[in-house]
Symmetry: C2
Subunit: 425 residues, 2 copies
């Protein structure tokens, strides 16, 4: 069955279409933190941040169905939903950020954010870390080092070494914040010398794709100072940390303690309905709207906005940000108690956890072991995955409705899988 589906996928979607797991899972139903496959097997979802308030939340489904039956148009006509939503969402933001452009994906949002930095500065140079991912458009995918674009990386893109808790930039954890900032300063100088000039830096406040390194509030202060001094914009890609995931704060940048000029959002904001947004101060938005004609046919349509509003309603009424903080603390306590010869570090930022495994004191990634561990957990009915340069960090990032009980099931299973997964090839 699964084999037939894989063959059918290859026929209809082509080669190299990514799937998860050695035996890709064929899901047919979801509810809250639970997912079921075609054979009726139930999985605890410890991975999917898109289903932010839980799979198929009835209030989000009702909002979509209700508005879809009444009207779905675009923002060249006037409609309350998009305005109500931007007002509600920007109400969660400080730093003078009060305006938004609605898009359909986080990729589209980041694609705009890059142009906002260009519009404000008149320059094109942009900096990202060397182990990140900010989306899939041509412009944004050039910020990822995973595969070079045809014709090579564009000259206006510069990469700096990603923060890493076990292999810190500059050699020491204590000096990493300054060393990171020094790399950014060097990249700015290179961009200016090359004639591109410097427009800004884009980063995820929890460095999610970099492997969720352990960074403390204040980590970016030296970097932000360098960016500001050079006249660039700070773009916070909040697609992963935003919307209460960090627990203590609604946004990752407020958790880390810096003031972005532009904030981008996507995945969780409508619980799976295709929505993204770029949020900015009026001066930044004005510069963009002056320099570029931008319209997005589906962006901010009444149905998408209704789905977005429902997610905020559910978050508030079910106290999901506070729950994320509570469950986060409990999971971290239990993860810190895990013992395994290859376990080098456990890390967390709200309801987002990493556990990094290495082979030796040289911090050689235990890639194969973590791959086996993920499969062992999937076999046990727990969906999670791995991240990091060496794909040796267990990645746990459940829907926000993940409970203390769910957390205990997960860690119990993880303890068992750690005992039973062979450490040597």
């Amino acid at each position: 069955m699964t084999e037939d589906m894989l063959a059918r996928r290859a026929r209809l979607m082509g080669p190299n279409v990514p799937t998860f797991y050695r035996n890709p899972v064929h899901l047919v139903r979801g509810q809250g933190v639970w997912l079921w496959d075609a054979a009726g097997k139930r999985y605890l979802d410890c991975y999917n941040n898109v289903a932010h308030v839980g799979h198929c939340h009835p209030r989000v489904v009702a909002a979509i169905a209700g508005q879809a039956a009444v009207l779905n148009t675009h923002t060249r006509y006037l409609h309350d939903n998009v305005l109500d939503y931007i007002e509600r969402l920007t109400g969660h933001l400080g730093h003078g950020i009060s305006q938004a452009i609605m898009t359909c994906t986080g990729s589209e949002a980041n694609d705009i954010a890059l142009r906002m930095a260009q519009a404000v500065t008149g320059k094109t140079g942009i900096i990202a870390t060397d182990n990140t991912y900010h989306g899939n458009t041509a412009a944004v995918s050039a910020l990822s080092t995973r595969r070079p674009p045809i014709g090579g990386y564009p000259g206006h893109v510069r990469f700096v070494p990603a923060p890493d808790s076990l292999r810190p930039v500059g050699g020491s954890v204590d000096g990493q914040a300054q060393a990171f900032a020094a790399h950014v300063a060097r990249a700015i100088a290179e961009l200016e010398a090359a004639g591109h000039g410097f427009s800004g830096m884009i980063l995820c406040p929890v460095f999610a794709n970099e492997g969720l390194p352990a960074v403390a509030p204040g980590f970016l202060d030296p970097t932000v100072a360098v960016i500001r001094k050079a006249g660039g914009l700070v773009i916070a890609d909040e697609v992963q940390p935003g919307f209460g995931r960090v627990g203590s704060h609604f946004w990752g940048h407020d958790w880390l303690g810096f003031a972005p000029d532009v904030v981008t959002v996507g995945k969780p904001m409508a619980n799976g309905h295709p929505v993204g947004a770029v949020l900015a101060r009026p001066d930044v938005m004005g510069a963009f709207r002056e320099a570029f004609g931008y319209f997005n046919t589906f962006g901010g349509n009444p149905v998408s906005a209704a789905a977005c509003l429902a997610v905020l309603d559910v978050m508030a009424d079910e106290g999901l940000q506070a729950q994320a903080a509570t469950v986060s603390a409990h999971v971290m306590d239990r993860m810190r108690a895990l013992r395994h010869p290859l376990l080098a570090e456990v890390r967390g930022a709200g309801l987002f956890f990493g556990a990094e495994f290495v082979l030796d004191d040289a911090m050689t990634p235990a890639t194969a072991f973590v791959a086996d561990l993920v499969e062992a957990m999937v076999a046990r009915g727990f969906l999670l995955n791995r991240i990091g340069r060496g794909a040796n960090t267990l990645k746990i990032r459940p829907p926000l409705v993940f409970s203390l009980e769910n957390a205990d099931s997960l860690i119990d299973a993880l303890e068992q899988a750690l005992r039973e997964t062979p450490v040597a090839a």
Copy 2:
């Protein structure tokens, strides 16, 4: 009320956010070909192609609501909906095109299509007409001449003069196809001389944004021969003509009679739910999937695919392509009978019509008159708009459920508005 909403929009969305009409319409409800504003005024929708099978079609709404309540995930898990849809959609395509990548917008689809041409050819040079629009990402918006990007147009983009029925490329309607192809050949030579090489040309088979010039089947034959000879790809942007709008055919390229290598779709495919797709031959898809890692979180999710499937079901069950052909012929008959001193030409391609107005024999665009005419029609309860370099062509592009009776109401109102709208400033 509307004034308050405009102020609120400016506060929350920033300046220069596009709206339609001198007094932007505040829509609150839609059904079939009808839209209602907040004051209860009813409009006949003669413009919105996104609501392809009619606003709020109950079968599409039910498909979205039904699947949203059961499961919404991404294509890293297996699911039947996306496969069923790609199989159904590619079943409408010839030319060896049998595979797809699902996206959330037509812009994302065109952004991928450009990279497909790069992957196949190893080159980056791309050609578009000088009066077009293919979307809003950084890469794709550089193909539009409406506003230059920061730092100027990238060197790998070349523009050729857009076809025009009243001011033909090369000076004569009979010679326009050859003259257009000659401009493409020149642009290819320039790209090769500049070191970019030639990857392909992107065009809309009905040249919708160019003002829907009157071009006959076979028009692109010389151009396609030039592109093929140079080893480039032909990308058909079917966002506007596709999905049966041209009436006689499911696709614009089959109406015009050329074989594209890549087809992109968007707006109408899920009746307003945010969906787009890139369709290609396996060799083209394979080259892209080999050269680029691509994943789209929301693209091809089970809910979006369900909405897409419902649109194809409705089109088939309600015979909407055939209806488009019938209604098209009737509208063209009645438009050809229109008499007005400024009316230079009426044009149509299926359920997509243009009526161009000029001031004199030098074909000076009657921009102000057409602006007034559009407002007069809106006041009468008919939503339409204008296109073309001089914004002097009336643009009529209704949902596919537009009936003969709707068509007669529209033309009756247009006759009246033409009589009553002053021709001089």
